[in-house]
Symmetry: D2
Subunit: 411 residues, 4 copies
Amino acid sequence: MIYTRTVELRGHLIDQGIFARVLDDINEYSGDYVIERLDVGQTHTEESYSQIRVTAESEAQVQRIVMRLQTHGANPLEPGSASYRPAPADGVFPEDFYSTTNFDTRVRVDGRSVDVDNPEMDCGIILSDDKNRAWTLPVSDVREGELVVCGSSGIEVLPLKDDRSDQGDFEFMTSIASSEKPQALQVKQIAQQMREVKERGEKILWVGGPAIVHTGAAPALEALIEEGYVDVIFAGNALAAHDIESAVYGTSLGVDLSHGHGVPHGHEHHIRAINKIRACGSIAEAVESGVLRQGIMHSMVKQGKEFVLVGSVRDDGPLPDVHTDVIDGQRAMRAALPGVGFAIMVATMLHSIATGNLLPAKVPLVSVDINPATVTKLADRGSAQATGVITDIGLFCEQLAAELVVGYKRD
Amino acid sequence: MIYTRTVELRGHLIDQGIFARVLDDINEYSGDYVIERLDVGQTHTEESYSQIRVTAESEAQVQRIVMRLQTHGANPLEPGSASYRPAPADGVFPEDFYSTTNFDTRVRVDGRSVDVDNPEMDCGIILSDDKNRAWTLPVSDVREGELVVCGSSGIEVLPLKDDRSDQGDFEFMTSIASSEKPQALQVKQIAQQMREVKERGEKILWVGGPAIVHTGAAPALEALIEEGYVDVIFAGNALAAHDIESAVYGTSLGVDLSHGHGVPHGHEHHIRAINKIRACGSIAEAVESGVLRQGIMHSMVKQGKEFVLVGSVRDDGPLPDVHTDVIDGQRAMRAALPGVGFAIMVATMLHSIATGNLLPAKVPLVSVDINPATVTKLADRGSAQATGVITDIGLFCEQLAAELVVGYKRD
Amino acid sequence: MIYTRTVELRGHLIDQGIFARVLDDINEYSGDYVIERLDVGQTHTEESYSQIRVTAESEAQVQRIVMRLQTHGANPLEPGSASYRPAPADGVFPEDFYSTTNFDTRVRVDGRSVDVDNPEMDCGIILSDDKNRAWTLPVSDVREGELVVCGSSGIEVLPLKDDRSDQGDFEFMTSIASSEKPQALQVKQIAQQMREVKERGEKILWVGGPAIVHTGAAPALEALIEEGYVDVIFAGNALAAHDIESAVYGTSLGVDLSHGHGVPHGHEHHIRAINKIRACGSIAEAVESGVLRQGIMHSMVKQGKEFVLVGSVRDDGPLPDVHTDVIDGQRAMRAALPGVGFAIMVATMLHSIATGNLLPAKVPLVSVDINPATVTKLADRGSAQATGVITDIGLFCEQLAAELVVGYKRD
Amino acid sequence: MIYTRTVELRGHLIDQGIFARVLDDINEYSGDYVIERLDVGQTHTEESYSQIRVTAESEAQVQRIVMRLQTHGANPLEPGSASYRPAPADGVFPEDFYSTTNFDTRVRVDGRSVDVDNPEMDCGIILSDDKNRAWTLPVSDVREGELVVCGSSGIEVLPLKDDRSDQGDFEFMTSIASSEKPQALQVKQIAQQMREVKERGEKILWVGGPAIVHTGAAPALEALIEEGYVDVIFAGNALAAHDIESAVYGTSLGVDLSHGHGVPHGHEHHIRAINKIRACGSIAEAVESGVLRQGIMHSMVKQGKEFVLVGSVRDDGPLPDVHTDVIDGQRAMRAALPGVGFAIMVATMLHSIATGNLLPAKVPLVSVDINPATVTKLADRGSAQATGVITDIGLFCEQLAAELVVGYKRD
């Protein structure tokens, strides 16, 4: 059995995103909809009008959806009459109490329409004994026996009058990236995408910053390289230099990632590591001659995978493999793109945006960073394909390796 | 004279916000529109289709708008044929070159339709001499005489196929709060809103955190109180305690705001200041007895304005005026809301959200903080009336006082 | 065999933290030291002077330590004479080249002292053929055969003249919390601390915010509760309300944590969940009557563990167990502290600081948050016992459960 | 008259920074000191011991300093005997009550030494009537007549036992950059430094990011250029391209900084602006030919000042003046450094760090950004000369221009 209710809404539905939010909320509350009518204001000064038929699997559910939609100014086409019941105890509402919005609200009761005083969100609506007055009340303040409006029948929420001139030229913010997401799940979803990409025979592109090394994620990334989940790396001098520094000096001088000391800034290990590779001629030659024996770059060379390192003005050295001319570097990156079916960008704003500039829109990309600004800047380039994950780089790579590499276990 | 072009677009226009972005962009590029047709997919699996007539004041402008809309997958109804001209020099495109999107693109030239190789944004489209091939090229790589597509005629941008299952359950981020706005202008706009509120005889509510004191903004706020731009303050124990601490100990113990030392944390001045006011009985009695002679709270008492201080679990003391029961505190805040026509929330997430919970949707509110998270959390409560300003609290209050208070000049 | 070198340094060593950084660096580079002399300036205008004997296990290592200490203005007591060797190739320094600081530097060569032109960090020092001139050069610019200073002998780094008046009243920033740490290791260390606390028979206190629920960490925390690693929880209304909302409505209404949708803000589920518990009388009664069957609060009740919920001004409801009077709440928190031997604070600034205010300094505490500000604010209270971990809450709790709970595996 | 007290402290004073904090606090509380004795532990396992004579201008002040120092574990050499007085009212301590630390504490009273129960910070110490017991109490819980310890005599604070093994390998965070500073004052101090630099005939170097343009600060910067406060600019392609885009398209296409709309990302104006300058040959030629008539770059050319633009991998175009080879770019930056006496870095992490790498330590530098991470990363390079200001770029430049340029007034 299907339960339905038709709601109507009016206003600047399209250009303020209200319509999209209404449809989203119906889906999120497990309902479904049919847009029965949509009269769009033809110009940007005209209002739009719509009727939407909402369906759900129970009467309680359809009522909850309608209550939710009222927060956007949508009201039932046939409001009906409000039902009400006494509060069962001090500080307790009836189970199905109507939960208020912060919009002006009217309640139809006993054939009349009563304005609700003091609009405030997340309250109940109390009726006077004679039903001539109605007001909001927080749950803590209700007394046993007070009449509380229940369900969504008979409630009319009045949308804000559109007073655009009043808003000045401010912009509205409608959405944010959030670190308050279940990240363990996101890791699984990314792992699944990577498996599908590999099954389709496409390449996985990693774009990375030096925090991969600083957060101890290099061993996880090495495992992913060996398992075939890293086909191309785009990075700067710093990722490679710190990876090589860690491989070469990791245990000899006390700056020891395995004991949790932070990486001191400004010390000279990285410049020595760079000099050592310069003396070899290239990273590949350093691997061949046995100077470089572990780490991300070592694994890439060993697995015969491609990497493009492009320099920046802050570079020391740089490593001999680095393109010091950035336009040359862009050309090298372009040349490595054919066949890429998925891009993951970890802990680098500069190289992520650079890669985003070059990537066709059809390549899905995931941006992973502990800093929300990096993730949103990338997503903000207007491509629908960007997904953001705000999380800890080290733990993210650990979990991704644990998902994708059988038997992966960090010591 | 009005220049027009009609574009069409197809896809999940409404629930992915594409339609809203198209209309926004037309406005932003100073164009206008008439929605000539909008066939909305009735259910969430059906695609929508629309035709929009774009108008602008010059042919060049209408062409730029169309190019812009193509980044959303909108194409001219009658694409026409592409025009092209040779690059005037190495590394230079013709003035009116077509600037690419990162979507798959086709160009109609000499009666045929040619796929553009290597979709990449912000490039030009180069045609082979026989017009049988077309590819993107960055401006740095163009050679003098190569044929470059100009204007927007004859270009077709192919929207992404809607492959929702591929997207997994990730959410899209569509917008961000940004600190990259011209803030000096925003201050002027807020000042203007405040003047209008006062002219309408309504109250201005300030909700503030202790950073107002730490950033040296107290003198600016005092000037605003004296000029009548602060009718009610909602805050916690900390704002009042640090304000009073600064008023009482500001110069005697060396913790001197006027010399730019930071406020040391954990020292005992604030607890002594609180004890002193507790001994007086209340802030008002401390003003009356001459114990408290300057500062924000002093000005509020002197001007006979209302403040509601509500406690939190981290409070020391607290001051005798603080509501230690938070539900009592909420009741006191509610009682102070009638007549409020504008709310400004500065440097406090806790009290901003608390106030947002109580405020009717029709009261415009501005949230000001240096931390984007505070601003977006508040805006995220779903009310269209929230505006965010990400800026420095101290400089913001300085400039607001300079706008509103004649002769205001910080020493 | 032990290699040694004695360095001297002079200046405002103590109050600018230079001395501490010198000792830190010796340890970090696996050396050891004996402070042979320390003449402390008795007043804050006098300079100090010290001689430190550095020891290490190889001559190369002791040279590297000395080079490092020169970045702080420490120089060998007997500078000796500089050695130099020709660059082996274009763009390559000799292996043991001296890596420069950005301080003014002098090099002793052939019995003379030569000023090094253009101080710049991370460069080499080149000598003219006649040894009358010396200048810095980045590795990329060196030509084969140019004379490069090697080792640390004969180098003198000139500390900055102390010109305090020039610095105005700015404060120096000397350290930061960083997300660029190997977090997997930190999780292991915290797990080890928790095991030791349990072995000593002491309690583990958790202080938590609602992001624990939003990030999907509740199952991990439940496993930790059942394994005995959570003796007391301090939190606000929000943690408990969202945990209960998730337990009660988790699967029925489509707001489904198990599919990765974010938690919509402002919807009414939490207020319904709160009302339901209010109707039961308390969380414990809701567990007993079968209304509440899973989640963090459920596990705490089932295991007979204590929780203290203290309200805040932004609360809806609140839950019947919440102390609405914050001073009462502080008293309840104090009463739960005896026996606590370790405190972990996750994703809450308000309750973390509140708990920090009450805790004796001898109880070690760890603050875990994705937002560096929370971690640093807590550490900033001046207690040496605070440790900060900047990471993703969800992944952190996952990994902690995987460390501590045998057989823990998230589905 | 001078009042004195000698305190002693013992422990790992140097390498944990305790000693430095003690001296800092004495200065901050307007006291002075003589270090009468400092026995430094010669090796990193030995403890140190010190006696410091504190002086101040009143007995009350010297007592407050001693109370403050006790939070670091420093105690008076001759503790004396505690004085105490009854609480004057419920919830009120005597004016000079002793404010507790969170360390274990002992109080000497009537010839005996009594342990204080429940160490908690910011409380008072209550004595039982027979003086056999002492405990902490928050001010809210004191009753009239209870005996409260006053002053600092007779108090002994027990420093934490040094149990380093327990701390594992975590690092301590000892300081943070804070946005909670009086920024209006910092602007004045920077302005004063700039005036002094000009008087000495030295150059002022600006290093800037594109947010200078986005935040509307370009007119302020132009005024500063014309007034002679900008001798050299280091930047990337983006600052110059957005400045020129704003100068060329500022009013013609509706993306209008003067009305407060944000700058849309990804649109094609910047690439057109770049193409236009490429067609001219260089920025200087664009100024000469009248194509470029306002903005930052225009002012630099008109005033004959030097700028060095260095490319990055994310660049579009780039402008013809941009060094696309980053090592070439570094050389050009080095060549512009002689004569620079002050560097200010605004809203760019990449170019700030790049410049920091090149600058001699003796050149003072200020880093200004709304993002604390940028400021701390720069400061973290180990140079004592870096100062950070966390503030809004737009308002900062406005105020700096108002300080330095007579008659500067933004329309």
